[in-house]
Symmetry: C2
Subunit: 407 residues, 2 copies
């Protein structure tokens, strides 16, 4: 086999890492303490870290107006490079070009970065939402985030000073693109498929993953460890589920696991494209796109993300989609199958809605072994029973509301 | 999705079809009857038909000395185009350049083609076998064919006049490249994986095929309907097995079936490459290469054909390999799996040697449902029981030998 030469980062020969380290970081941090402080949201913090570690190569900071507009309308920055979702930062007032500021997490109060303002501009939020999310419905969590942005977008290059709590809280999972690339190189892999995960892996995900392993050199299970909407399984539980699944059902040498610090935007097709962009930066040649990729509710058709990849212009994105149809266990096939391969009927297939699954798990009902591996179900049952206890404790203390919302 | 535009034929913008039809054929056939007749073997007849229908694009006839040598030594013709196995014709004497001859099947006596001799040359057969088959052992059926060639290789462009018995005997299966391409275009497929078949499809083949369907737009089950070595399942039985399998276990719209008229050379890696070359001519973008592809006995390592594809120079072959590891049913995985995806032990896997399978089928023993579908086994059992009856009848008539050899 030819010596491993990994795919180039998106729109660049090398990773663009904006994170300072060592003495450079120390001195910039000192300077940062003297600059005016501006708070950034959780989503913006995740984006900053991705800018820092090169996950958002070739960006050098938050986008200005023209890039914002080009990205919204035609997924193209002013330099002609493909980019599917605006990476922007908002603030409650205008700042003069040339102003230097320090970006501070509104959650942890930590200094995240410094920034040299190049531009302050106002946006039509509905325009952004309509183009990016195809909806302006505030019930959509991505729309909600945009609508919650402050009045002014502030653009400019950043120097990133921290990866926040991700390296410690997600030790062994959180990974920089340079790290995943080094592992792939050492393994001699040329073709690597990325599996986007924000849910525990049931057998349908395992099946997608194994198809990818069969046709590529290896699999990168790349988990979102940023924020999710209420009701989603938290990252630590999910990580345990996936660890046990890989331990028991995968050839470990074929799998690399990593985590990235972004918050879910639930942007469906556009987010599916962003997933390909930053997976390329992490060294992947293929992005697995399954059913309702990065979707939420009924905002997107189940294969809109497939269409989005098909509709890209030639050369837009080097990382290729590995599109997989809806998958399930079929008794007549006697194994996992997809809509593309199984000719049998509904009555032969083991299908379970998310709602039915949650109900079975939290109430101790049966979940078929054809739907999920026992080892994974055990962890999920434990998590749900813990939730229930918490609800009961709270209830006795006259608290109300959904236990999951507090996660 | 972008409008379907199929892959170009190998080394050419269009299919090079050397088959004459209609009035052109009638008049050339008349002329053919007046020319000196030269017999061609079964292998050469198959090659002629492939030349005729464009399956061997961009060749225009049987190869001359320099192409023969380049193909043997570095898989490259004098025009620089990749070609992995010599396509040559032999005769017992030298013929002068410019001589026009008629090529007649030594099996059916039918006029197959006319040829204008450009060159007669002698070859070192051991040299060819060593390069192409990596062995000079006459027990290798491909070596045996080369060793059985007559003393002179005759080169020159051909005009093909017949497709022999293939269109009638394999009606509905035998197919020209223009026909498969038309079907793919009508289906709007862009990526098509070819499955080479010379055996009935057991579940391991079904699994390869379904992986290919999951990652491509469609599957071309392309069966060899030329000659096999004794003991292999004859084409008509195999076609019935595959029909019933597709009928019962595939989404029919995702599968196109076709047959091609070549004899097996059992050339392992080199034949695996030839399979990619002519599948590209039939319109396929991917060639599935499994374990011991086109192999025989112990001449080749199980993944030598994978290596052969990996070692090709850039641009040699546009049709890409879809390499798949050894596959089997695994009880712990609870489904089909491959060495790349299954971490479990031998004791969990359903593995059956060809010898054990034949024994079970001919003696009525059990074959696990995890190895082969019932519908396929029924057909094979019927075939083997027919064979047994034939042997018994022959035995009573004092015949000896292996019944299968007479097929």
């Amino acid at each position: 086999m030819a010596k491993s030469k990994l795919i180039s980062p998106h729109g660049s020969k090398t990773l663009k890492t904006l994170l300072l380290e060592g003495k450079e970081r120390d001195s910039e941090l000192k300077r940062a303490e003297t600059l005016p402080k501006v708070e950034v949201s959780s989503r913006e913090t995740g984006d900053l870290i991705m800018l820092g570690i090169g996950g958002f190569t070739p960006l050098d900071g938050f986008m200005g107006h023209d890039d914002w507009k080009g990205v919204c309308s035609e997924m193209k920055m002013t330099n002609g490079i493909f980019w599917p979702i605006p990476i922007t930062m908002s603030h409650d007032k205008k700042l003069d070009p040339g102003t230097e500021i320090t970006l501070v997490s509104d959650e942890t109060n930590e200094i995240m970065a410094t920034m040299k303002v190049t531009e302050s501009y106002q946006i039509d939020k509905e325009y952004e939402c309509k183009h990016v999310f195809t909806t302006t419905d505030k019930a959509h969590p991505g729309v909600e985030m945009v609508m919650a942005q402050k009045d002014w977008n502030i653009a400019g290059p950043v120097k990133v000073l921290s990866e926040s709590y991700f390296p410690t809280e997600f030790e062994g999972i959180y990974q920089r693109p340079a790290e995943s690339r080094k592992i792939f190189e050492e393994k001699g892999w040329k073709t690597i498929a990325a599996l986007q995960l924000r849910n525990p892996m049931h057998r349908s995900h395992e099946f997608l993953a194994k198809i990818a392993i069969d046709v590529c050199d290896g699999l990168y299970i790349h988990q979102l460890v940023g924020k999710l909407k209420p009701g989603d399984i938290p990252a630590d539980v999910r990580v345990r589920c996936i660890n046990t699944l890989v331990e028991n059902y995968f050839v470990k040498e074929r799998v690399v696991m990593g985590g990235y610090p972004l918050d879910m935007r639930y942007g469906g097709p556009r987010e599916g494209l962003l997933h390909g962009v930053f997976r390329q930066n992490f060294g992947c040649t293929h992005m697995i796109i399954g059913r309702d990729h990065a979707g939420v509710g009924d905002y997107y058709g189940p294969f809109d993300a497939h269409e989005a990849y098909h509709n890209l212009w030639e050369g837009a994105l080097e990382c290729k989609m590995l599109p997989i149809d809806w998958t399930f266990y079929c008794h007549k096939c006697d194994g996992m199958a997809s809509m593309k391969t199984c000719p049998h009927g509904k009555e032969d297939r083991v299908l379970l809605s998310g709602t039915a699954l949650r109900k079975a798990l939290s109430e101790g009902g049966d979940v078929p072994a054809e739907f999920s591996r026992k080892e994974v179900l055990d962890i999920l049952r434990e998590y749900y029973s813990g939730l229930k206890e918490k609800v009961e404790i709270k209830m006795h203390g006259h608290a109300t509301g959904d236990a999951e919302k507090r996660k």
